[in-house]
Each structure stands twice: as C-alpha cells, then as structure tokens.
C-alpha cells in the first residue's frame, strides 16, 4: 500500500499548490484511512448507487475530499491536469463532496455531523433491504462536538447496526486549534462503549493496522468504531499538528514532485 499512499500524498500537495482554498492538513491526516478502504477494494470508484450488495463510503469530514481525489488519481481514475483545476469554477472536483462530484458515494457532507446521520440512515436502509453491503463512515474528531453526531451514534447502537463501520480521524485539530483545547472530547472510547459500540484503537497512518481493524470490525455483531490516531498535515513538517492550511506554491510543488 506504500506506493499508493506515497503517490496520493504527492497528488494532495499538487492540488494544494494550485488551490489555497483546500483543507490540506485534514486531507493529509485521513489519507491512510481512505487508502485502507480503497486499496483493499472495500470501497470502489465507479460503482453506481443502488447496485446490490455494494459498500458505501461516507466521508462526513467532507472538507478532506481531496484525499479521495488523490487516491482516485493514484488509481488511474483522474488525470493530473484535472487535479490541478480542483476548486476552480469549471472543475467537477469541488472542495466539498457535492451532488455532481465524481467518485463520491454520498454527497453533501461538509456540514459537520450530517454525514453521520446520512451513514446511519443508509445502513438502516441497506439492512431493511436485506443487503450485505456495508457503510464505512469516516468522521473527524472536531465534528464530534456536534450534538447530531451523538444523536446518530445512539441510533446506530440502539438498532445494532453492525453493517456500519465508523472510523474517527483523530487528528486533534479543528478550526480554532487543538481539539482537546477547543472543547474537551472526554474519554471517547468510553463514550462509544457506553452506547454499545465495540471500540478499536489504531495508528491511523499505519494502513496495515487500519485494515486489520476493519477485518475485525466486519466480524462484529455490533456497530464498531475505530479510533484512528493521526497527525494533521502528516508528511509536511511545517504544518504538522497545526491548524495551518496553506503552503507556499514552491514548497507544495517540491513535495508534489518528490520521489516515491
């Protein structure tokens, strides 16, 4: 998986070089989590919604959608020319997943907490249909401040949705600074456990560990949350573990052109 994440990380920095409006640090923290899902074929590009027994990815932290674009490009679905246009008025690659955004299973995340409800509703619906497909939900830690997040997790636990696998990208940064300083999240593992979730903890930059946790989650008879410890801005020391979003173009390009 190392070639995939290396290539995708470079593509994220390429986009950052041309689009200062993107959320760079968050895309870098979530990259290995998404690579674990796409790289193992758990979720796929170019599968139409409604195809029986397919899996879905809900990226509730929609601002990190560039990590999906980067993986799509690394897997040959998008061109470098198209990546360079990300966030431009004429581009189909917008800065949050929209209705017309390609390679996004569930659009209209971005308003934090709302993707969590969408994922729970989707998982409930798939189960009602008797489908075997799963919903992989990727959230940030900052969005766990939202009341709606916990409203929805309570529903997932109450209805025993073991076809929902939640992965929290614990990068400990949100808009105003470090998450634990902006608002204490408490004992997250304890909060999920008390609702009835099975809780797994991994290094979110170790694809192997994430995949192992996914395999375990898929055997559970309960909803599972994988708390994935990550570093915001991973791979770019000047912004690591900060709320910084922007790099000078030269610096971004030097990363983008680095070897894999």
């Amino acid at each position: 998986m190392a070639p995939l994440t290396c290539k995708a990380r470079r593509y994220i920095l390429l986009m950052a070089a041309y689009d200062p409006g993107m959320h760079l640090g968050s895309s870098l923290s979530v990259l290995e989590i998404l690579a674990a899902l796409y790289g193992t074929g758990r979720v796929k590009f170019n599968v139409a919604n409604g195809v029986k027994n397919r899996n879905y990815l809900v990226l509730s932290k929609g601002h990190a959608v560039h990590a999906i674009y980067a993986i799509a490009a690394a897997m040959g679905h998008l061109t470098i020319d198209e990546l360079r246009e990300t966030g431009s008025l004429g581009s189909r690659l917008q800065n949050h997943p929209e209705v017309d955004t390609p390679y996004v299973d569930v659009p209209n995340s971005g308003s934090l907490g709302q993707g969590i409800s969408l994922a729970v509703g989707l998982a409930l619906g798939l189960r009602l249909r008797g489908e075997e497909g799963r919903v992989y939900l990727v959230t940030g830690d900052g969005e766990l401040d939202e009341g709606q997040s916990w409203e929805s997790f309570a529903v997932a636990a109450h209805y025993g949705l073991n076809n929902l696998v939640t992965i929290v990208d614990l990068n400990d940064v949100q808009l105003d600074g470090h998450s634990h300083e902006v608002l204490k999240k408490g004992d997250l593992a304890g909060r999920f456990k008390s609702l009835g979730f099975e809780v797994l903890q991994v290094d979110g930059h170790d694809v192997g560990e994430v995949v192992e946790a996914l395999e375990k989650a898929e055997k559970s008879d309960r909803p599972v949350v994988i708390l994935a410890k990550t570093v915001r801005g991973r791979g770019v020391p000047s912004i690591e573990d900060t709320a910084k979003q922007r790099l000078p173009r030269d610096e971004a390009l030097s990363y983008a052109n680095g070897p894999c």
Partner: protein
C-alpha cells in the same frame, strides 16, 4: 372518505401513512419520540418493520431520513413543526441540496397546540421550507385534505414539507373537490369584488367571512391553496385580475409565508391592491386554538373587515 371527516387532522395523518404503507413498500416512517403524538403509530401498528424511532433528536431524524432515501426508500419523518424547524439546516444540506424524496411532516403547527404555548406553536415553518429551492410545501385545511395531501405527496419527485395541525379543524374540503392535486388551488366561493386566498386551517373562517360580506353587498371569492409551493400562479392571476383586490389569510407569520408568496408573484406581474393577514409575533398558552384565533384576530369578522377595506381602496 366520510370516515376520514370524523378523524382529527393528526389521526387522518396517521391513517394516511398506514394506508400509503399498504400501497407502497418503499414508504418508511421516522419519528423523534413522536409516534404517539403525531399518530404515526397507526403506521407502526400496520408496518412495524418500516417504522423507526430515533428518540428526541430532530436533527438526526432528518439526516437519517435522508440516508434512508439514499438507500432507495421514501421516508416520512414526523415531529412537532416547531421542533422540526430546529433541523432546518439538515433539511437544507442533507435533503434539499440532493433533492431527495424525503417528506417532512410538521404537526401541531400554528396554534394547534394551544396548551403548550409559544415554544410549541410553529408560525415560521412555511417561510423556512418555502425558501428551500427543491421543497414542495403543503398546508391542508382539514382532516380530509390532510389524508388526501399525504397520499398525493408520494407522487412528488423531490422533498416535501407537509404542515398539519393536531385536533382542531372545521371540516370543509371533503365535498369541495374530489382529487387532491399538488400545485392546484380550489375555489370554495365564487365572487367578483375581492378575492380571499387561504392556506391551512383558516379556510372555513374565510368562507364565513364571504357570507358576512355578501350580507353587506360585497361579492367575495374564496380560493384555497393547500399547496403553497409550487403556487398555483394561474389561479392567483385569474382572481387577482378579476377582482383587483386580494386578501391572503394564514395561521403563520405575515413575513415570508403564504401571503408573501402571493405578493411576490403579484408585484412582479400585474399589481393589484393586496393585504396579508396572519401573525406578527409569537402565540401564547390558551385552552383551545379557537381562543387564540380570536385573541390574535384571525376571525371571520376581521377577515370580512379587511376585505371590505381593500374593496374601498380599489
């Protein structure tokens, strides 16, 4: 339909959902601890596997309904209108921007919940849902119309907001017309001097006002618009031009609601004299909705008086 007339509006709602569940297997119902009070329990009793209670969590209710729609279902999500609007941003971002076939039903709307006071009395919901580009907005007048509107709503492609009361209604529409068509206005009284347009439960007040006006030698038309959006512009145009004086009446704030929708059309086409009747601030606790209609001036006498003023201004 005769048995529907004997039901309260919320009972008609629950009954309609249960019947709709017989007709369509894709219909699911989501409530926020409101299965009992919205009478969604009628659906739950007949279709228990397709009924979900998410607890007192309106934002999750709307988002989960959107997720169920993504899975191919047609969800009806029900709670008090006053608390549904708490999830307005979810209706915007999770439902309307994808134009999902989610049906949000706000019950106890207007003064229907007189007993619980202004916190429970939604007077802004029409404005809030009307502003969302893809939403259809329905505000039926009585139990018959609630039943018909809910069944008709299933054929709408995008999202729908349905405004329903609780127990108060004056049966008016059962005999007025046969088939409910989304987007169509219904003429309750013909007249040529002034046109009174209504939506929701105030229709019978306007019908009574027309009788009062007739005794004063004024011929008032009463046209009922159970669909606020898309508005029946052709009927607005026809009666505005025929009378030159339009009075709108609604159990809702005068800002942004049904009257505003009518005014937006009229001022941009061929303006006529117009007045908007409704509420200008919050309600209060009372023993019945009827007390509140009187207290806040939504009465046949006041409607007649406003209509008479308009006729003089023509």
């Amino acid at each position: 339909m005769l048995d529907i007339q004997s039901l309260t509006p919320r009972e008609a709602l629950g009954r309609a959902l249960a019947d709709l569940g017989d007709l369509r297997e894709d219909v699911v119902v989501v409530v926020a601890d409101t299965g009992e009070t919205t009478r969604a329990k009628f659906f739950a009793e007949r279709h228990p596997g397709r009924f979900f209670n998410v607890g007192i969590a309106e934002q999750a209710m709307v988002g989960i309904a959107a997720g169920l729609a993504l899975a191919g279902f047609m969800p009806y999500a029900l709670t008090f209108a006053a608390f549904l609007t708490r999830a307005w941003e979810q209706a915007r971002n999770s439902v309307d921007r994808m134009a999902l076939p989610v049906r949000l039903v706000g019950t106890h709307a207007g003064f229907a919940d007189a007993y619980d006071g202004p916190s429970h009395q939604a007077l802004e919901d029409i404005a809030l849902f009307r502003v969302l580009p893809n939403f259809t907005v329905l505000a039926p007048a009585d139990s018959c119309e609630v039943y018909r509107a809910v069944l008709a709503s299933a054929a709408v492609k995008g999202p729908v907001y349905i405004r329903v009361g609780r127990d108060f209604h004056i049966p008016t529409t059962c005999e007025l017309y046969g088939r409910f068509e989304v987007g169509k206005a219904y003429v309750a009284v013909e007249g040529g001097d002034v046109a009174i347009f209504t939506t929701g439960v105030v229709l019978p007040f306007a019908v009574e006002a027309a009788q009062i006006l007739r005794d004063r030698g004024i011929s008032a038309a009463v046209v009922h618009f159970p669909t606020v959006k898309p508005l029946d512009y052709a009927t607005v145009e026809k009666y505005a031009q025929a009378t030159g004086a339009v009075l709108t009446v609604e159990e809702h704030m005068v800002h942004g609601g049904f009257g505003s929708a009518v005014a937006e059309y009229i001022v941009q086409t061929r303006p006529v004299k117009m007045a908007i009747m409704g509420l200008k601030s919050y309600g209060r606790t009372a023993k019945s909705p009827a007390e509140l209609y009187t207290y806040f001036g939504l009465t046949p006498e006041n409607i007649a008086a406003r209509a008479e003023e308009l006729v003089k201004l023509r």
